[in-house]
């Protein structure tokens, strides 16, 4: 008689990234899978590490902005806004009103562009082909506008301490006013394509749940936190720029699952359109730059400051230290993506392999910012 040997099974390690089509940027995670079930996940980051914080110490104050563009390279205007505000607070200057309005308009349009990117990538993660192209169609409209404003489609380098690089181009307001209904329509179309789709719902509802307490404990922010039902938005809780005067809602989810994270972003795009509309109606004429002393060099008074803004991905914080030189002494970036990514572990618990991709997509990470 043969003795029956117990069947020995091993968990399989699957490498997802950095060249896997589903990873966002160059994120790598090694998934331990038991059949289709994910038993564990080891994330690896750092493939895109460019040493932003160190680089910033070797550039002049204003020049650092080009590196800011390259941290979160999908929401450049928001990053620039954060840094420009920090410099302004250190310098003790206020940007003129027109600059403030232009900044808020561009930052909110940038939020739409960024969330569109999320929409497309998320659609691809759940396996649909078309959302990506729809999202890019919508993005293209706004990117062209950005190109007209700053001359660049991605790395704008447009916000400066005390205002803007140059005035908005002629006919900007009219152009944007004409464009807004189309943007709104594009958002609606994206909404129609995916939101009520049964296949999409079954892939996202209840997947990757993150309880509010857990989200707070991991330091999540932005749509990831709000999807878990926490009404926290830097634009409301620590208002900056024009946001206290603007009328907009902060959409929150209920369950903190992938669907809620998707839905919150979609709703935020609509709110952004509203904000842009209000700003456009009030956009004043006038100077776009408060002169800051820059002879013989642009210097910032000694001091330190923490500024944060509500990026499309969450609470984007910069800690600036000045020792009075022409270069910042220290620039520390509090990256929302990095903190959001920390919650990946608990979300992946007991998920399927296919869910892992969707959950990662729902975090909407940008590796330029995680790795810095």
């Amino acid at each position: 008689m043969t003795t029956e040997r117990a069947l020995r099974t091993v968990d399989m390690h699957i490498n997802v990234g950095p060249q896997h089509p589903a990873t966002h940027g160059v994120f790598r995670m090694v998934l331990e899978v038991d059949g289709e079930r994910v038993a564990g996940c080891t994330p690896y980051i750092g493939y895109l590490h460019r040493g932003f914080e160190k680089l910033a110490e070797n550039e002049e104050w204003q020049e650092v902005i080009i590196h800011l563009d390259r941290t979160d390279y999908i929401s450049q205007f928001n990053n620039e806004l954060c840094y420009a505000m920090g410099m302004e607070r250190l310098l003790g200057v206020e940007p003129p009103e027109r600059a403030e309005y232009a900044r808020v308009i561009l930052a909110e349009l940038n939020r739409i562009v960024s969330h569109m990117m999320f929409y497309g990538a998320f659609g691809a993660d759940v396996g649909a082909l078309t959302p990506f192209l729809y999202a890019f169609r919508e993005r293209e409209r706004l990117q062209r506008l950005f190109e007209a404003v700053s001359g660049a489609r991605l790395m704008h380098f447009y916000f400066r301490a005390g205002g803007l690089k140059e005035d908005l181009p002629e006919g900007f307001a009219d152009e944007l006013r004409r464009m807004l209904p189309a943007v709104q329509h594009g958002i609606d179309e994206c909404d129609r394509l995916l939101t009520q789709n049964e296949v999409f719902l079954s892939r996202t509802v209840g997947v990757g749940k993150l309880a509010a307490s857990e989200a707070i404990a991991y330091g999540c922010s932005g749509p990831v936190l709000r999807a878990s039902g926490v009404r926290e938005d830097v634009r409301r809780s620590d208002p900056y720029s024009l946001y206290p005067t603007l009328d907009f809602d902060v959409p929150v989810g209920k369950n903190g699952d992938c669907f809620d994270r998707y839905w919150v972003r979609l709703a935020e795009m609509r709110e952004s359109v509203r904000i842009v509309q209000q700003c456009l109606d009030r956009l004043p004429e006038g100077p776009i730059r408060t002169p800051v002393p820059r002879y013989p060099h642009f210097r910032v008074e000694p001091g330190e400051i923490y500024v944060h803004t509500e990026n499309p991905r969450g609470d984007y914080g910069l800690y600036l230290v000045s020792k009075g030189g022409v270069q910042p002494y220290r620039v520390k970036l509090r990256s929302p993506c990095f903190c959001n990514l920390m919650a990946l572990g608990p979300m992946l618990r007991d998920s399927y392999l296919a869910d892992a991709v969707v959950i990662l997509g729902s975090l909407d990470i940008v590796l330029g910012e995680v790795d810095r």
Binding site: E36, G123, V126, A128, Y352, A354
Partner: protein, 355 residues
């Protein structure tokens, strides 16, 4: 001019083989164009007028590409797999009737034969997944096995509804029974189940789980290149064509409906041409529906897919069978219950997605 039976069959087989190759090229082109326009892109535009030569160009490129075999692959299994995928699918064409006469062999057990062969290529996929010595391929291969075997059942049961109603396994007879009303109207639930199940059989969106590129990067195909990879593609589109042709024959009335040439109206080649035209239009319509779905839907997850097969499709295909059987015994009016059941099916899908 009549040829000896064996030679005649061989000639027909040869013609069909070439037609299939041509059709696959056309289908790939149509798919790329349809998807492109859904996404407001142009699609292939450069080779030939509106890119019509793009797929032949791609095919030639694939043929002259190096045929790589991974060093650690199980050599024979790896190299044999594409053929084991393609051959059963090609065998299905033996009994698919383009018109009453344009068929290689009209088998009396035609449907039985088709169902049997349509499930064989899973072996090849599993071999490809195992032989590649690649984790993505293995996962994809196992997924393919699970998915294809589960969906075999609802597919067969859906067809069984037609068989019970028509009382024949012969495709030609089934088509000829639909001169008046196509079975689409008599078997609405059956059609729905057949479409869903065959989408899964074909691994097309939303059931392209074995080859999901955002999860397992092409699954069993991940290590293949050049010639062998193109055989997989050939098989995929050939089976799409075969399945659409079967659906057109058993549900849409094949070459007969809606304007079957009555005896004497048209004869000879004209009748055949009309028949083939109808058949091609119907088949193409179904295929474009598949592409359209691909451009619209996301992908299901494997456990949801299995749940869908075993908890939804199989019970509902039983219901369909019971309704049809009752209709055969007690009269055709009972078939109206099929429409009710279709509504129930749609509602059940809705409920499941809301959970």
């Amino acid at each position: 001019m009549t040829l000896p039976a064996d030679i005649d069959a061989l000639v027909r087989l040869f013609v069909v083989a070439n037609v299939v190759l041509l059709v696959v090229l056309v289908l790939i082109y149509i798919e790329r164009k349809v998807l492109a326009h859904i996404q407001q892109r142009l699609g292939p535009m450069r080779t030939g007028f509106h890119g019509i030569l793009q797929t032949p160009a791609d095919a030639i490129k694939l043929l002259i590409k190096e045929d790589l075999t991974p060093q650690s692959a199980d050599r024979w299994v790896f190299q044999l797999a594409p053929f084991l995928v393609f051959v059963p699918i090609f065998m299905m064409f033996v009994t698919i009737p383009f018109t009453g006469e344009l068929v290689v062999r009209n088998l009396d057990l035609g449907i039985f034969y088709l169902v049997a062969f349509s499930s064989l290529h899973v072996v090849g996929l599993l071999m490809a997944g195992w032989g590649s010595d690649n984790k993505y391929a293995l996962l994809g291969g196992v997924r393919a096995a699970a998915q294809l075997i589960s969906f075999e059942l609802p597919l067969a049961f859906a067809i069984l509804g037609v068989v019970v109603w028509s009382g024949s396994l012969n495709l030609k007879e089934i088509v000829e029974l639909q001169t008046g009303i196509p079975f689409l109207l008599l078997q609405p639930l059956g059609v729905l189940i057949f479409l869903v199940a065959s989408l899964a059989e074909l691994s097309r969106t939303p059931f392209d789980i074995p080859t999901a590129e955002s999860e397992v990067i092409g699954g069993p195909l991940v290590e293949y290149s050049g010639m062998r990879w193109s055989i997989f593609m050939l098989a995929e589109y050939a089976s799409l064509f075969a399945t659409a042709a079967i659906a057109a024959a058993i549900y849409l009335g094949g070459w007969e409906w809606p304007f079957a040439p009555r005896a004497g109206e048209l004869d000879g080649w004209a009748a055949r041409l009309a028949g083939v035209t109808w058949f091609v239009i119907k088949t193409l319509g179904l295929i474009i529906l598949v592409f359209w779905l691909r451009g619209t839907l996301p992908r299901l997850r494997i456990d949801q897919l299995m749940g869908f097969a075993w908890k939804m499709l199989i019970p509902f295909s039983f219901i369909n069978l019971i309704i049809t059987a009752a209709a055969v015994v007690y009269g055709g009016v009972i078939l109206l219950a099929g429409w009710l059941a279709t509504g129930g099916f749609a509602y059940a899908v809705y409920i499941r997605s809301r959970r």
